[in-house]
């Protein structure tokens, strides 16, 4: 392998190496788990640093496409792409993974001998997520998707002694596999219509579509539709969202933030790569479909979130709505990428923070987090309640939080693209969303606590929650550097 070809896959290589070392250290040499943690955090940090190097290399004019099949005479079909889009995805994913793992640390401590697997699976899952964003080929993307998904299925059911965790894992596995199957079938149909699995390069899907008239438009449309459906499952957009509430509620609270944020980042990044990278010429076909999915998601997600009595289910359904808001950015094509990235990045951060609070309030191994656990939190732990309030305000899109900037971004993008109806629909659901989030806030601030025990906040979780709440305000006041960066993170 030429050295220049190491850089594009450096994050994946680092993470895989980290996963192996963790297993060696903990499972074979039986070292204290703290060392495993050090390796895991080092690997994630190193991956983040590798992403910074990738960005610099791109600035110096590095190639974008790698691992092309050289022996194919007419077409050079690349497997991996390194562009600002994939690198920005790396920034987001690795940052979220570091925070998510820190928030899960309390859970890791309780896992006994199985923490080696846990840490290794987190690293593998993160590698898979990033691979999805850096793939230049449906097959590579499928491999990344499966790597990430398999790791996440296991993580979702990690507290095996709880029946609902098993249920969550099985449900997640079955529906996730179905989604993966739909996805790869879509890829196959796309291949049938265009003669390629690669997105870019001579003979790739984009080249083909811009230079040829598709002889089988129906196959192309169905293929495109199946890809969208498969990824909509992953991001839990309605009506493909049914797994999310059960999985969120069943999986151990300590790790749900990481799982939820991870799949969302992966799904949206992959969607952008395929639709805006490879199929940009077909925007008139897919944009209305996404607009409808977005509209359905914001309505269903918000309405169902309003009637839940469990904070994790509330967050799951609100996640459906947020998926809808993010999809709104896609209808603007390349112009919406900046808004999409800003939303995805800030929402992922929010998710990690919100689930970290959930884990503190209801226990990191537990699944359920009923609203009564939250009653009177402001008198039991004012700082935690205020941090959660800030995070909730961010989700609700209240000004001077990053959620507001993100919402204005996607609303503006949709309006620019002429989808004014979608913007107004989304605005309506935002108000209902406020009810959802303020309902939790009302329980925290105005409810009567069942017991007056002070809440014990593990240090790592406290740091994560504090950081998320702080950045919710900071990125609400000064979002400009991140907006600028997100605006540059365009796919090839």
């Amino acid at each position: 392998m030429e050295s220049a070809e190491f850089l594009p896959i450096a994050p994946e290589v680092i993470l895989l190496a980290g996963a192996l070392i963790v297993i060696l250290l903990l499972a074979i040499f039986d070292r204290p788990y703290r060392e495993g943690g050090i390796v895991a955090f080092t690997a994630l940090t190193a991956a983040l640093i590798a992403a910074v190097f990738q960005w610099r290399a791109l600035g110096d004019g590095a190639d974008n496409l790698y691992f092309s099949a050289r022996d194919v005479p007419v077409a050079r079909l690349p497997m991996v792409v390194m562009d600002e889009y994939s690198v920005f995805a790396g920034y987001v994913i690795f940052t979220i993974a570091i925070l998510g793992l820190a928030a899960a640390w309390r859970l890791v401590q309780t896992l006994g001998s199985r923490r080696a697997e846990f840490l290794a699976l987190v690293l593998l899952g993160v590698a898979g997520v990033h691979m999805m964003t850096a793939s230049a080929n449906t097959i590579m993307m499928f491999i990344g998707l499966e790597t990430a998904s398999l790791a996440f299925y296991v993580l979702a059911g990690f507290t095996r002694e709880r029946l609902d965790a098993d249920e969550a894992a099985v449900k997640y596995f079955l529906l996730g596999s179905l989604a993966a199957a739909i996805f790869i079938y879509g890829g196959a149909l796309l291949f049938a219509a265009t003669g390629s699995t690669a997105f870019y390069g001579a003979g790739g899907i984009r080249e083909f579509l811009s230079a040829n008239i598709v002889t089988e438009p129906a196959i192309l449309l169905v293929g495109m539709g199946l890809l969208i459906v498969g990824l909509s499952f992953k991001v839990s957009a309605a009506p493909f969202h049914q797994w999310a509430p059960d999985v969120y509620q069943g999986a151990p609270s300590g790790v749900v933030g990481l799982l939820a944020a991870g799949v969302k980042i992966a799904g949206f990044a992959a969607l952008g790569r395929i639709l805006i990278g490879a199929l940009s010429s077909q925007i008139d076909d897919w944009a209305p479909v996404l607009a409808i999915i977005a509209g359905v998601s914001v309505v269903i997600g918000t309405l169902l979130a309003a009637v839940q009595d469990d904070v994790k289910r509330i967050l799951a359904y609100s996640g459906v709505a947020h998926a809808g808001y993010i999809l709104m950015a896609f209808v603007a094509g390349r112009d919406g990428i900046g808004a999409m990235w800003f939303y995805v990045a800030t929402y992922a951060l929010t998710l990690v923070g919100a689930f970290a609070v959930t884990a503190v309030v209801s226990g990191s191994r537990n699944g359920r987090s009923p609203l009564r656990d939250w009653a009177g939190l402001s008198s039991r732990s004012p700082w935690l309640a205020w941090a959660m309030l800030i995070i909730l305000l961010g989700m609700g899109g209240i000004p001077f939080t990053m959620g507001f900037v993100a919402k204005v971004g996607v609303f503006t993008a949709a309006t620019e693209a002429g989808y004014t109806w979608l913007m107004f629909l989304a605005l309506f659901t935002t108000v209902v969303g406020l009810y959802v989030y303020f309902r939790v806030a009302a329980v925290m601030f105005m409810g009567q606590p069942e017991d007056d025990d002070a809440v014990v906040i593990p240090t790592a979780s406290g740091v994560v929650i504090g950081l998320v709440a702080f950045s919710t305000i900071l990125l609400g006041l000064l979002p400009w550097p991140l907006l600028e960066l997100a605006g540059e993170a365009l796919p090839l």
Binding site: I398, T412, E416
Partner: protein, 507 residues
């Protein structure tokens, strides 16, 4: 810079208050009052150095945050917003000083109040549409907490109703702002622009104006509130703690009237002219409806709340009379209403602190026990009714004069609001204060203490001063409202009538 400081000072105050350790709890109350003094000082300095006769924005701050989307930290005051910030800065120290009865979670209460002040000051000086919306919306959060945590029995219901109603209004505003920014962006060759001054230069089609007028108008109509979007108001005012009611009535409602002036009438002149008669009619409906409903209220706080609907109806009538007198009068009513109704809520709160009931029927003959209090109440009732010499008269007189030029029939009906105000306020006064003491529970009532007198006296003085000599206020308002009218005349066929030029136009 003065305006940036004006916004930041309450926020800095909130941070200072949040950092007071538990062991120095006794500092909390005095320090909370103290941190509202710097904003008042800055606001007064702005009022004194404000250049009279200049209709344009002064003390402007213009700092672009994000070139691509045209978002910036853009602030400025003109003759209209000047009085809004002065009103805000005056009412906050008094409202906080009147919060001595708040004992639970006092620190969080004070922090919420100061964040509220930041938001309100920001609303009145923002010249960037997105920044304006941000301040407009952020106000909801502390107000929601104030009503929901420190309100009376029915607080949760009232807080949610307040939140959802006003948030429902503001989504239209946000939608309208985004649409307007996109239209502006198209016109100036950028993606979007939220700069009010750039937006002003864009010629909008009549249809666009109508839609945008509706989008902005709903948000402001909920805030004012214009009947039939008023139902949140009575609950919110009644359940809120005293300071919350003072700020709600005194300042929050003004966001609506201010919004109509600054955005609807300035940005969408054609739609304004087309809809003026209908809006004026809604204003009159509010005047009469609010007053009639106020008469029958058994709860004195609800009575004052409904009287607000009536007074704010005068504001709407004045603005949409589209005459110089009407607009000036509308702004003046907002100032006067802020002072007078703020004072009435403070007074009601003082009585509530003593007896924990707001029902008029529980009182009677209070004047013999609390003569100073009764005097203050009567004074403010007269000011609210519009007794000449007090502030209420100036504004409502100007509104009636102005609206008689363009909508004479409505002006005549609106005048009945003054009579109705005399009925509900004086009748309430009679039942609470005069006669013998009927309820033995009232016998222990003691008159106002020094702190309470010190809170009311500044308002009494202000009401009297601007009632007798309104010129300094009107001199600053008029150029700015005339500028709005000039813009309407320049872009439409409408001509502002003057007394002596046309006989009271058709209704």
């Amino acid at each position: 810079m003065a305006l940036t400081w004006l916004i930041l000072l309450p926020l800095i105050g909130a941070i200072v208050i949040a950092l007071i350790p538990r062991s120095r709890r006794e500092l909390l109350f005095p320090l909370s009052i103290a941190v509202t003094i710097p904003p008042l000082a800055v606001a007064s300095w702005i009022a004194f150095t404000f250049e009279v006769g200049d209709p344009f924005f002064q003390f402007t701050v213009d700092h672009t945050f994000f070139e691509q989307l045209g978002i910036g930290w853009r602030l400025g005051v003109d003759g209209i917003s000047l009085w809004m910030i002065v009103l805000t800065a005056v009412l906050f120290p008094l409202a906080i000083a009147a919060s001595a009865s708040i004992t639970e979670q006092r620190k969080q209460y004070m922090v919420a109040m100061l964040i509220l002040e930041t938001g309100l000051l920001g609303v009145f000086v923002a010249l960037d549409l997105l920044l304006f919306f941000a301040f407009f919306e952020i106000v909801l959060v502390p107000m929601y907490l104030l009503i929901g945590i420190w309100g009376s029995e029915n607080r949760r219901y009232a807080s949610f109703k307040f939140l959802l109603f006003t948030a429902f209004g503001s989504i239209f505003l946000l939608g309208g702002i985004i649409a307007l920014a996109v239209l502006t962006g198209d016109a100036i060759g950028a993606i979007t622009s939220f700069d009010l001054r750039e937006v002003l230069d864009v010629r909008l089609s009549s249809t666009a104006q109508l839609w945008l007028f509706a989008a902005f108008g709903i948000a402001f109509a909920v805030k004012v509130p214009i009947v039939p979007l008023h139902t949140w108001l009575a609950d919110a005012h009644t359940e809120a703690p005293t300071a919350g009611s003072v700020i709600l009535a005194g300042v929050l409602l003004k966001m609506g009237g201010y919004g109509f002036l600054r955005f609807n009438m300035t940005l969408f002149p054609e739609a304004t002219v087309d809809l003026a008669k209908g809006m004026a009619l809604l204003g009159v409906v509010g005047i009469v409806y609010g007053a009639v409903v106020a008469i029958v209220q058994p709860d004195v706080k609800r009575l004052v709340a409904y009287s607000s609907i009536s007074h704010m109806g005068f504001v709407i009538l004045g603005l949409f009379s589209l005459t110089s007198q009407g607009l000036s009068g509308g702004v003046f009513v907002m100032i006067s209403h802020g002072l007078v109704t703020g004072a009435l809520f403070l007074l009601v709160g003082m009585l509530y602190d003593r007896r924990h009931t707001r029902l008029i029927g529980d009182y009677g003959g209070v004047a013999t026990l609390m003569p100073i209090y009764a005097g203050f109440f009567l004074y403010m009732a007269f000011a609210s009714i519009g007794l000449p010499g007090l502030s209420g008269f100036v504004g409502e007189f100007l509104v009636l004069v102005g609206s008689y030029l363009t909508v004479p029939v409505l002006a005549v009906i609106a005048a009945s609001g003054v009579v109705l105000a005399a009925i509900y306020l004086l009748w309430a006064y009679e039942r609470i204060f005069t006669g013998p003491i009927t309820n033995p529970a009232n016998e222990g009532l003691h008159d106002l203490g020094f702190r309470e007198i010190a809170i009311i006296v500044p308002l009494i003085v202000l009401v009297l001063v601007i009632g007798i000599y309104p010129k300094p206020v009107l001199d600053r308002i008029q150029p700015s409202v005339d500028l709005i009218l000039e813009r309407i005349e320049a872009t439409t066929t409408y001509e502002v009538p003057e007394y002596g030029s046309t006989p009271g136009g058709g209704a």
